[in-house]
């Protein structure tokens, strides 16, 4: 049956309760709200360090995905919003550490403002249940 939907909430994932589910699962896909560099208590981490903030955002995405029995490496698409587009090279080593040879679609863009004060980064992900996509040779 198609269109089966489940809203997912993870306590203190993004520090912005009430604006949307942390994620919405529908069929084989999980659409996540964008996550910022917040710890489990909703506090900003690593002020001024974009690589560490990206690391935290990826961990938050993983926390949300694990509630749906998926992993970060099941991400099909990541959109990274940076307060300073010149930071784009600084997140590359962290990205490689998390994803290795898995290569989700990965868009990076610079923005004028983010919701979390002091955040240099927000990351939005869409994940896909393994096996629901076929490798095209």
């Amino acid at each position: 049956m198609r269109g089966v939907r489940q809203d997912i909430s993870v306590p203190e994932c993004d520090g912005r309760a009430g604006e949307g589910a942390d994620a919405v699962r529908c069929d084989d896909f999980v659409f996540l709200s964008s996550v910022g560099p917040l710890d489990e208590d909703g506090r900003l981490v690593s002020e001024g360090d974009v690589a560490a903030q990206y690391h935290q955002a990826c961990e938050n995405i993983e926390r949300v995905l694990r509630t749906t029995r998926l992993e970060l490496t099941n991400a099909a698409s990541l959109t990274v919003y940076l307060r300073d587009i010149n930071d784009c090279n600084k997140i590359e080593p962290v990205k490689r550490a998390f994803f290795g040879s898995v290569r989700p679609a990965h868009t990076v863009c610079g923005v004028a403002a983010l919701a979390v004060p002091g955040a240099l980064i927000e990351v939005q992900a869409v994940a896909c249940k393994p096996g629901s996509a076929k490798l095209i040779p």
């Binding site: 949307g20 919405v24 659409f31 923005v111 004028a112 403002a113 919701a115 869409v126």
Partner: protein
């Protein structure tokens, strides 16, 4: 996978660039971002203020969804773009929350941007899934 369907909705505002109002694949609906233009009055000045503009944007998105036999309750993911984030974020949220059932809020991303089409304050795009 069915062939994608490229939809233009007669009741929605005229596109301001080369795009479809929505593209549909297998019941998934990918909606182009709407700005606060008014259908049938595309040259008219935009409504003033973030509240009125957010309402117009969500009304426009609803027009597109209804034209596709869907509604805001089918939205799974939304992206909101604001040109004056600090000033408009809370007011946009208040209006936004009125449009969605409290137990069916879409996953959401909201960022500040430097410019939007026609100098508007807010643009929102959606992904929906027809039940």
């Amino acid at each position: 996978m069915d062939a994608p369907l490229f939809h233009m909705i007669a009741a929605a505002p005229e596109p301001v660039a080369p795009y479809s109002h929505a593209v549909e694949v297998d019941g998934w609906l990918f909606l182009t971002g709407q700005i606060p233009a008014e259908a049938g009055a595309d040259e008219a000045p935009l409504a003033a203020g973030i509240e009125a503009q957010t309402r117009r944007v969500l009304d426009n998105l609803n027009i597109v969804l209804v034209g596709l036999r869907a509604g805001l309750e089918h939205v799974v993911s939304a992206r909101v773009f604001l040109t004056d984030f600090e000033r408009d974020y809370q007011a946009m949220n208040r209006v936004y929350a009125e449009y969605f059932p409290a137990d069916r809020l879409p996953a959401r991303t909201c960022v500040g941007v430097t410019h939007l089409a026609r100098g508007c304050l807010v643009e929102i795009d959606l992904i929906a899934r027809r039940a």
